[in-house]
Structures are given as structure tokens and as C-alpha cells.
Amino acid sequence: MGYTLNFNLIWRNFDKLWGGLLLSLELAVISIAIGIVIGLLLAVWYVSAGRVVRTVIAGYVEFIRNVPLILLVYLVFYGLPTVIDVAYSAQTSFVATLSLYSGAYLVEVFRSGLEAVPRGQIDAGKAIGLTPWQRLLHVRLPTMLRITLPALSNTFISLFKDTSVASVISVPELTYGAQWINFNTFRIVEVYLVVTAMYLFTGYALLYALRLVERRFRVAH
């Protein structure tokens, strides 16, 4: 084998990767936060709405779930500005796309969680005189969150990895940093080994933190 691994060029450009990782995390956190708001609002709306609203929400979810993320990213970044008169940076465009994307997945997670809240708990909330809003806030949502935590963790990790798609519109996140180093040094094996390790480590750290949260909130039955 004539190829010798040489990481020197990677370390020399490591700021590209480190900055990229931080941006990846930032993109994930902002998009997931917006996605949670979208997901919660639509899930709550869905379970209490009539058929028209349900159909519209289900349509949004199905659309997002059946179109590859990379296509959505292209559609929003290149497609939308040609149709309507808007201007935004690649980063803003990606955050908007990933927010809509995570929102669709989270609607599903939250909706199934809300529907899994035992009927008896809702009856108990009614029986002590809680209004529908109070029942939602103090009975259904707390139980729903506990039911959905494991699924949420998986979705969050998945969304963190999905930030790599932002590289296709030149958002300088971690994968883009790797590509930049590759183009400039041709150290493709070394750079992707390092980047893989960085994704792996960060993903694992996130999972570990989320498992701690799960344990804290677990409801024994």
C-alpha cells in the first residue's frame, strides 16, 4: 500500500472543522427549537381540530417526509427566490428548511404522544374542574413529553446529522469544512476520518445528555 496517512494538513486547518462543528450545532439547535414550536402547535391543533385542518397538517407532514431533505434545501434556496421576491443568506435558508423539516417529524412524534395519554388521566383532569387549556398544560403535555422523550432523542440526533446537507449550498458547517480541506489538500481519507470521528463523538455526547434527561423524567408504570 503506497498511501501513508498524514494528518498534519488536517490539524493545520483544524479551525475550519472546529468552526464547522460549532456552526452545525448552532444550525441544529436553532432549527430544532423552531421545529419544536411548529411541531407542538400543529400537534395540539391536529388532535383538537376537524377534518380540514387535519388533512392540511397531514399533507404538510407527508410532503416533507417523502421528499429528500437535499431537494427541500435546493427548493428553498434556489427555487423560492425565483418565484417570489425574497432574499436570504444560505444559512437562513437552511435554517428555515431544516425547521420545516424537523417540524414535520416532530408533529408526528408529539401527535402520537398526545394520543397515547391515557383517557383516564384526561377524565381525572375534567373531574377536578380543569378547563381544556389547563388539562392540556398540566395533564396532557407533561405526560406526552415523558412518553415521547425516547423518540425525541432519536429525532434530535438525526436532525443534528442532517445539518451536513447544508454543505450543498455552501454553508460552512462541518461537512463543508471537510470538503474545503479536501479540495485544498487532497487529504480525503484523513479529513473524512477526522470528521466522522467528530460527528460520532458529538452525536454520542448528545445522546448521552438526552438519556440523562430521559432518566430524570421517566415515568414508571
Binding site: G120, K126, A127, R146
Partner: protein, 262 residues
């Protein structure tokens, strides 16, 4: 029909209800005066639980009326049979307490937290005041030491006693008990019935659905026997559970019941 001298606290009048083509309540009428303990017995599927759930409007009904302290429970008093707003329904339901067969405690709240939720959000009490009331009632049901335990850390009997405390802490005008010992292991039934007995002694008005005949005989002022969605017999325990009762259905229900329980 209303007797002004002794108005019924709970007045169920000719209530009917169907689930699809199945008529679960057929023109049921039942009056309960303040301080009375009325036990509803009957074979499963006779409409007992549905009747109880109509009293606090967890179930709606098709015709008839249910009044608590003279106020129609689920419908506006405009004569048009219009369902009350959710806000009004919540306020009406706060006047009744309910204890469930499967306890239905809020799993994310401690024993005290379960009791405090309604006190704070519905009765508008401060956290400290609600805590004090919760501790008082937990003491009454023998669980003062479990105030900070989660439901999952409690036995079935303890959970059900918290369920009772949660209901009575709201100071309801009437307490509805829906087969509250049916999900319990036999050795835990006694501790729950003991709590109910002490509430009865305090003068709490109660309507309970139960299969505990001995308890029904000892603790109730009146027993109502339901069959096929209607009230088939009603009277004092001695009469209803006595040997001379002239009601073939009740006799065979009791005979079957005794055969399976002794």
C-alpha cells in the same frame, strides 16, 4: 315534582342515553339528598358507571336532566338543550368529586401534587395553602408520610386513597365513586373502604357504584338496583338485600352474586 321542603342535592330526572343502537340508560330517575350515601348495584352493562359519568358530564346524555343543587349540569338553562361552554362545564364539574376504578392519578405529580393541582388551578389557592390542604387530606387517608411520593411508588390501595383525597380536597358537594375497589388486590380493599366509611360519617354526600355488598349494606342509606339501563329497585339496604324483596331480577342477581363470592 320537586319537593321544596327537602330539595334533592342531586336530581337525576328521566335520563336516557344510547351508544349507537344500544340504549344504556332508559329514563333513569334518582334523587339524592344532602348527606345521603347511595349505592348503585347491578350486573355489568346495566348502566351504573355510565349514570355516574353523566352526573359530572364526563358523558353527555340524550334526554332528561341532571341537576346538582338545582343547577342543570351539562346544558344551558335556556330550554333549548344547548351544551354548556367548556369553561362552564369545568366550573360545574368542580362541584362534584370523582374517584375512578383505575385511580387515574397524574403520573408526573407527587401524591401532594395530584391534590394540589385542582386546588391551585381551579380553586385559585396559593401553593402554600394548597400544600397545607393536601397534607391535611393525606393525613386523613393515612398517607401523610407519602406526600412526596410519585404514584408509581405507591401501592394500588395507597394510590386509590390519594385519588379519594384529591377528590374530597376540592370540597365537592357530592362525591362519585366508580367501582373504586375493583382494581385492587383483595387485601387492599379494606383500607380504601375504611376511608369511604369515615367520609360517610362526616356527612359527605356520596353516590357509589360497587360490588362490595357487605360494605353497601353497612355504609349506605339507600341502595339502587339497576338492570338493563333502568332503575329496577331502590330502597334501604335491609329491604333491597333482604330475603323478602319482590323483584325477580334483583333476587337472581343477588343469588348469582352470593354464589360467586362466598
Amino acid at each position: 315534582m320537586s319537593t321544596h321542603a327537602n330539595p334533592a342535592l342531586l336530581d337525576v330526572s328521566e335520563v336516557s342515553k344510547s351508544f349507537g343502537s344500544v340504549e344504556v340508560l332508559r329514563s333513569v330517575s334518582l334523587q339524592v339528598t344532602r348527606g345521603e350515601v347511595v349505592t348503585v348495584i347491578g350486573p355489568s352493562g346495566s348502566g351504573k358507571t355510565t349514570l355516574l359519568r353523566c352526573v359530572n358530564f364526563l358523558e353527555s346524555y340524550d334526554s332528561g336532566s341532571i341537576r346538582i343543587d338545582g343547577k342543570e349540569v351539562g346544558f344551558r338553562e335556556t330550554g333549548t338543550r344547548q351544551r354548556r361552554s367548556e369553561r362552564d362545564l369545568a366550573a360545574m364539574r368542580a362541584e362534584t368529586g370523582m374517584v375512578f376504578q383505575s385511580f387515574n392519578l397524574f403520573p408526573h405529580l407527587t401524591a401532594a401534587g395530584n391534590i394540589m393541582l385542582g386546588l391551585r388551578k381551579v380553586r385559585g389557592k396559593s401553593s402554600a395553602e394548597a400544600r397545607q390542604i393536601a397534607e391535611h387530606w393525606l393525613g386523613r387517608v393515612g398517607l401523610a408520610h407519602k406526600a412526596d411520593s410519585l404514584p408509581a411508588e405507591l401501592s394500588g390501595g395507597q394510590q386509590q386513597r390519594v385519588g379519594i383525597a384529591r377528590a374530597v380536597a376540592m370540597e365537592p358537594k357530592i362525591l362519585l365513586l366508580d367501582e373504586i375497589t375493583s382494581a385492587l388486590d383483595p387485601e387492599l380493599v379494606g383500607e380504601v373502604l375504611e376511608v369511604v366509611r369515615s367520609l360517610a360519617e362526616d356527612g359527605m354526600t356520596m353516590v357509589m357504584v360497587t360490588h362490595e355488598m357487605a360494605f353497601a349494606r353497612d355504609a349506605s342509606s339507600r341502595i339502587v338496583f339497576m338492570a338493563d339501563g333502568g332503575v329496577s329497585a331502590a330502597g334501604p339496604p335491609a329491604e333491597i338485600l333482604g330475603a323478602e324483596i319482590d323483584n325477580e331480577r334483583l333476587r337472581s342477581f343477588l343469588a348469582r352474586f352470593r354464589a360467586s363470592h362466598f
